[in-house]
């Protein structure tokens, strides 16, 4: 996919500074836009692969007592699907968006620490390759789930080298993400253009700042958990003590809950930008939203124990308190999103469709999140398909829809060409139908008693019909994603129309520069506009309209006098 091939037709003054050309130029770049695109492209590719794993699982579960794959393979499938989507897709994609967009949105010519950012990308790629290479080992890939509790994940019970590769891969990829988070946060804090005060940063950049705070605060706990697991694989006796068995869970979930918001905030930020732009108005309740994001991020560091309600070794009252309190900042974000569209003038382009569907679909994930954050309900729902449904409503019906809203919004900026609207609509509607058909039945399956991570179920369990519906939904999802790939291929083959600098009448600084932007983001032909608020281009248009009206009225008044 040639994302910058279109730069050739731009005037010479937009060409990047002299640097190695071709592949080498891409792979050694210190341009945040190229590092961002590399990260986004890599995680999108991994996403397609992880989707194939999911299809195999849905194939296996479509009917009771099927034998498409055995437990050995199935356990690898759900492990690699879950860990791949979380460690290698939704998290790096979120940071990749930040690496690409935050310098543009705050009016910076470059990202802070460009080499560390590039190193972050390479650690991520290396980690991904190592983790996935487990499939090539004799005993196959890792097979203990994305949270891989010991002692199950210790060498005694999972001897394969795939598990060692998994630990190393997750460790490297996560280290890379932490480096990127430092760079993005530092850019937002220290690289803003003159006049770009903190409270003039766009909602998306604020969502990235909050995201990076969580990455920096919480992700090292995952590295510690992985180090503990690695120690336990060398010496399994480590896990003869309950201290390290339950200690691993505490370390893991101290990372494991904030990461949910890391995989959510940037997409929420993208949705906020889309809703404002396609409502033709300023994002409603900007300051409340910024405050809510920060409160949300702070609270997220104190809720981890709600993943451990059934361990009998957590203070359930406390973690339930902090978890349920999250509904306050979440409610503020909904207030802002609904206020924006209720006072808007809505235009339904593809990004807007995804953003509008995000609002009610993510809400299902959020509301069921309060349920599983309630200990007496979690005692039933924990480790059942109810949780599987809940987390996919959060991460797929919510975050992935936000991801696509942002993808369709910013694709023309990054490439200079527009994606096809008709294919975009097909992609959208297939995804809406597929998502809800796949994941809604899982609530009922979990309620009826189907545990997660089971390779099959008995005919007498009565889970057949709902599983069949869910598998049909997965097929619809596959069709939708195929349409998406076709749309991208079409753009890569240059059959797509030129986008121009600002195809959507955007509000934020990235729309003031060319598509794709020049090496240092802004230049003489595309200077920074006056930074008057979080939506400087909207202010500019408003002022121009006011002046035009003023001139018209002035002329009218003069003519009236005459």
């Amino acid at each position: 996919m040639s994302l910058t091939g279109t730069a050739d037709v731009e005037p010479a003054r937009h060409r990047p500074a002299p640097a190695p050309g071709g592949w080498l130029g891409w792979l050694t770049t210190t341009d945040h836009k190229r590092i961002g695109l590399l990260t986004l492209g890599t995680s999108l590719l991994v996403m397609l692969g992880m989707g194939v794993l999911a299809l195999l699982m849905r194939g296996q579960l479509a009917q009771p007592e099927e034998h498409l794959v055995g437990p050995q393979v199935y356990n690898q499938l759900f492990t690699m699907h879950g860990s791949g989507m979380i460690y290698l897709v939704m998290t790096p994609f979120a940071l990749g968006l930040g690496v690409y967009l935050v310098p543009l949105q705050v009016g910076a010519p470059v990202i802070a620490m460009p080499r560390a950012t590039l190193l972050g990308y390479w650690l991520y790629v290396l980690g991904a390759a190592i983790m996935l290479s487990g499939f090539a080992t004799p005993q196959g890939a890792h097979s203990d789930g994305w949270f891989s509790y010991p002692p199950m994940a210790a060498r005694t019970y999972t001897p394969g080298v795939g598990s060692d590769l998994w630990i190393a891969g997750v460790f490297l990829a996560t280290t890379g993400v932490i480096l990127m988070a430092w760079a993005v946060l530092w850019t937002a804090l220290r690289k803003r253009a003159e006049g770009m005060t903190m409270l003039r940063m766009p909602v998306f950049s604020w969502s990235m700042a909050a995201t990076c705070l969580m990455v920096i605060g919480a992700f090292p706990a995952l590295l510690a958990a992985l180090a503990l697991l690695a120690a336990g694989r060398v010496e399994p006796a480590v896990f003869d003590s309950n201290l390290w068995v339950i200690g691993y869970q505490h370390l893991f979930w101290f990372y494991g809950h904030p990461v949910v918001y890391v995989m959510f905030f940037p997409y929420l930020g993208a949705v906020a930008e889309v809703l404002a732009v396609f409502s033709g108005r300023r994002f409603f309740g900007y300051r409340g939203t910024v405050f809510a994001l920060l409160v949300f991020a702070a609270l997220s560091m104190s809720v981890w124990g709600h993943h451990m309600f059934t361990t009998g070794q957590a203070t359930n009252d406390y973690y339930s308190l902090t978890s349920i309190l999250l509904l306050v900042p979440a409610g503020v974000e909904y207030f802002a999103m609904l206020g924006t569209i209720l006072g808007g003038r809505l235009v339904f382009r593809t990004p807007m469709l995804f953003a509008l569907a995000f609002v009610p679909q993510f809400l299902i994930g959020g509301l069921t999140g309060i349920m599983v954050g309630t200990p007496v309900l979690d005692y039933h729902a924990q480790d059942s398909y109810f949780v599987v449904a809940h987390l996919h409503y959060v991460l797929f019906a919510g975050s992935a829809f936000g991801l696509f809203a942002g993808f369709y919004l910013w694709f023309p900026k990054a490439t200079g060409v527009l994606l096809d609207e008709r294919l975009g609509r097909w992609h959208f509607w297939l995804l809406v139908v597929g998502t809800n058909l796949t994941f809604f039945p899982m609530f009922f399956l979990g309620y009826a008693g189907m545990p997660r991570r089971v390779v099959t179920y008995l005919d007498g369990d009565g889970f057949g019909l709902l599983n069949l519906l869910s598998s049909c939904g997965a097929a619809v999802l596959a069709a939708g994603m195929t349409v998406f790939v076709v749309n991208l291929a079409r753009a890569a083959l240059r059959r797509a129309p030129r986008a121009g600098d600002d195809p959507w009448r955007g509000h934020t600084l990235e729309w003031a520069t060319s598509s794709p932007p020049p090496r240092l983001n802004f230049d003489a032909a595309h200077p920074l506009p006056p930074l008057t608020s979080e939506a400087p281009l909207l202010d500019l248009r408003r002022r121009a309209a006011d002046e035009a009206r003023g001139a018209r009225e002035g002329r009218g008044a003069r003519e009236g006098r005459a």
Binding site: G285, F335, P375, G449
Partner: protein, 226 residues
């Protein structure tokens, strides 16, 4: 089945609240889609924020959060209080507690009844017909002491709406009181390896009289074997 009763009540309350919120948000989105379309709406609003409305709304949200926290925490405490909740005032002497030791292992369960009386272990392989049964009396609190021999498992009886994890080198305990006779399927809920999907057991509640006969039979069987 106190766990199931508490679950049912709290789940109904939260489901109604969640349903109301979902419908309200969906209605707002649909209203915007239909009435604020570019074709139907006048110009967009110029209003950047409504701080007073937002502050009042935050107060409502906080009140809802406090209600949910307190209400569900009280429900949790009610569920875990030992003894019979809801029994008439001045009940007869509390029925004697039955103790059961449950050991999970890859990939099945062992049940022992040390007190009162004591009965031999029941176990199985969880293959084909060899699914073990945990027999308990109705009306008497059953104290379950749960542990694991190898990795983490989780004892889940979906009909009881309750589960508890089984850890190696650690014992968790909880109390069940079954009001009616019956037989329910139990499962392992925590992923534990190759045959996790088949790690089932039966929970069978019988009348106290029948339970005594069952214990006597198993004592005899255990004695005969010794």
């Amino acid at each position: 089945m106190r766990q199931a009763d508490v679950f049912g009540e709290v789940f109904a309350v939260e489901l109604i609240m969640a349903g109301a919120v979902f419908l309200a948000v969906l209605a707002a989105v649909l209203y915007a889609v239909l009435r604020r379309r570019a074709g139907a709406a006048a110009g967009p609003s110029e209003r950047a924020e409504r701080p007073r409305l937002e502050a009042a709304y935050v107060a409502v949200l906080a009140a809802v959060a406090v209600f949910l926290v307190v209400y569900t925490a009280l429900a949790n405490h009610r569920e875990h209080r030992t003894g019979h909740v809801g029994a008439p005032a001045g009940p007869p002497a509390a029925p004697e507690v039955v103790e059961v030791d449950v050991t999970a292992f890859q990939w099945c369960w062992t049940f022992r009844h040390p007190r009162p009386g004591g009965a031999g272990a029941t176990s199985g392989t969880c293959r084909a017909e060899e699914v073990p049964t945990l027999v308990v009396p109705t009306g008497r609190p059953v104290r379950v002491e749960l542990t694991s021999r190898d990795v983490i498992h989780s004892l889940w009886v979906p009909e009881l709406r309750y589960k508890m994890d089984a850890f190696p080198h650690h014992t968790n305990s909880f109390t069940l009181t079954l009001d009616e006779e019956g037989r329910w399927l139990g499962r392992c809920a925590e992923f534990c390896g190759y045959r996790h999907y088949a790690m089932h057991f039966w929970l069978r509640a019988v009348s106290p009289g029948e339970y005594e006969r069952w214990v006597a039979g198993h004592q005899a069987a255990a004695g005969g074997a010794a």
